[in-house]
Symmetry: C3
């Protein structure tokens, strides 16, 4: 069972909570146990699991990452100028896996799945697959 | 096959080697081949695979991460004040997967699985699942 | 289905594109659907998925990581002196998973799988496993 999802990001750096979309699709698959893999199809956008309650976490998160990997860097060679976005993607990861147990994602109370845009706004896609077991 | 493990951390930042507990549980499951997913149920504590020999690596690791993501930051908005812990968690990852081959975890000689506390001390839990295959 | 691959790195820091080797091996396995796990067997070398087009991205990537985690650090205790390599490994991750769909790796146009050497040159190995499903 697998599906490609599309989304449109609307900022340069943005964390989009994709948990509800994935949960909704999982319900339709009627799979009780296994693992779910969520994978970005891009090299300047990744996936992470982090806080879903206070939206300030996202603001702090993106600003702090930007301080660690500043957009402008005098030594960067890559002509597209988005080296920082490549680093942020490998730091959070291009993909994440979540355990599926008795029909529900084994996420803690405050955990959500985020699509992390680091070079937007753009049309993006991510692929979700379930392995039963 | 899956199990939730609990632990009590006793420092603000701490790497706890959970390899023996996972290996012991795996032996009881009598599964020879597959993958093992180890997932933190928190947004301020993650999982990583790293050196299990010299304990100084853990000390250096946590101090260096704290320099990259300092606890105090004048621009942070998140009222809980633990933005740094959220960043550290996404940097190491909320979960890791390890290959299971002929009944043993495919870890290199120096690799151990660590529960990484970034906002302790606290009561914590992580979930472990095996997919046969 | 699983296999251990060996490689010789030839720089201190190096990103080696291992996508072709993995794809070639996968073709021989004749598995259509599942997930592929690629895991470094070391604590100072990791795996990441990132840009496979402009080689400047690799140069920028490694230099930027070295700025975030400098090799020399007055406070480091670890006597081997490679604490930075341990941090880089946990930052990119010791392992990555890629979805396998209809016989091909579900990678975006610009995504490649990299073995990331952070303390070379050395003889290294990584383990690849496919779970069908």
């Amino acid at each position: 069972m697998e599906k490609t999802f599309s989304l449109r990001t609307n900022s340069h750096d943005q964390m989009v909570d994709i948990t509800p979309k994935i949960q909704h699709w999982l319900l339709e698959q009627k799979i009780n146990n296994g693992i779910v893999i969520v994978s970005s199809m891009h090299t300047t956008a990744g996936i992470t699991v982090n806080e879903n309650a206070d939206p300030d976490v996202k603001t702090d998160f993106l600003r702090r990452l930007d301080e660690v990997y500043p957009w402008e860097h005098t030594k960067d060679l890559h002509m597209e100028g988005n080296t920082a976005a490549h680093l942020k993607t490998s730091t959070v990861g291009h993909a994440q896996m979540i355990i599926l147990s008795k029909g529900r994602l084994m996420l803690g109370t405050w955990q959500g799945i985020y699509f992390c845009e680091f070079d937007g706004p753009r049309n993006r896609s991510y692929h979700v697959k379930v392995i039963e077991g």
